[in-house]
Symmetry: C2
Subunit: 197 residues, 2 copies
């Protein structure tokens, strides 16, 4: 078989296989064999790329961070002048499609499901920090567009916004989710309105 494969690409495929298993069968179903089967490779082959299970979980989490960062970067680079665009930027942070739902489920399942894994804890902190900074950036844009009352404590409001976004995300995740996407958008819209003059 081919002498050289793209390791990064293979790692991403395996990480996405982990995502799907976590979303479909839960964290407990994540085993080397299941992931290999889900990704369509043999278990022995998987071990050449990710030698241990901990590496597997770390790779899954790293890809979450990477994808989320890339998505936000793509959004934030564009000039964002009006209210609808700010709302769209925030909506981007919600798990409203399959990929983002998979990512968030993975993120939460790993963070809550395996404490004592230092790498995962570090990556969680990275992600939380990015969320807060993203909310802060969105607020700065909104402020520049004159959408915000001038007397707001932007640091506190960024934190509050991040909390709202994460809370919405949590309630959007099925199964057993109790929130419709439209309701989530309504909450976000109402929150932004409450920050206005």
């Amino acid at each position: 078989m081919p002498r050289l494969i793209d390791h990064d690409h293979r790692r991403a495929e395996l990480a996405e296989a982990v995502w799907r298993i976590i979303a479909r069968d839960g964290l407990e179903a994540v085993s080397v064999r299941h992931v290999a089967a889900e990704a369509g490779v043999s278990a022995g082959s998987l071990r050449h790329v990710l030698p241990t299970k901990a590496d597997l979980l770390t790779a899954a989490m790293e890809l979450v961070v990477e994808r989320a960062a890339a998505r936000f970067r793509a959004r934030a680079d564009r000039p964002v002048p009006d209210r609808a665009a700010v709302l769209a930027l925030l909506t981007e942070l919600l798990p409203l499609d399959e990929e983002r739902s998979l990512e968030l489920r993975t993120h939460l399942a790993l963070v809550l499901g395996s404490p004592g894994h230092p790498e995962l804890v570090r990556l969680r902190a990275t992600l939380d920090d990015a969320l807060r900074q993203g909310c802060r950036a969105a607020l700065d844009l909104a402020a520049a567009a004159g959408l915000l009352r001038p007397d707001l404590d932007l640091d506190l409001e960024a934190l509050r916004l991040a909390v709202v976004v994460d809370g919405l995300a949590l309630h959007l995740l099925g199964p057993g989710a109790d929130l419709e996407p439209t309701a989530a958008e309504a909450v976000l819209d109402g929150h932004l309105a409450a920050l206005g003059p």
Copy 2:
């Protein structure tokens, strides 16, 4: 050994053992043997009370729902006249001590960690519903005390408040938590203030 033991009491002990294992070692470490050891009984003995692992997880989740409901009932029964009391009622919903942290970790780990378990999905819906009703009740009390603008959509605000509470709870949960309890209370206080006239 004694012919009659209190089954409910034993179930609660075992459920709390599950909580501790989830918080300390993660969901993957929850096995019949580990739980039995944590609770100080033999595995065979455990099986007389909770025959299968699914029963074990269900019992753990049921105790979460039960304790949370009892705690809220104890708070809500008291007359709640002023702003500080409303804030205290909401703070009650946050994982600011060991027991509530254990409960929330269990709740989230189970909901996110084992999809396809119908009983857990049902219990999650129960809990989410209770949270929303609790927030609605708190808002009603605040409104009766004249702490709210009269033009608010209380249903939407209850949802937003529930989202804030859950978001705060999520960020308060260690390890890797990025939120201090005082910051969480500040967010809650700011949120309540933003609802005022």
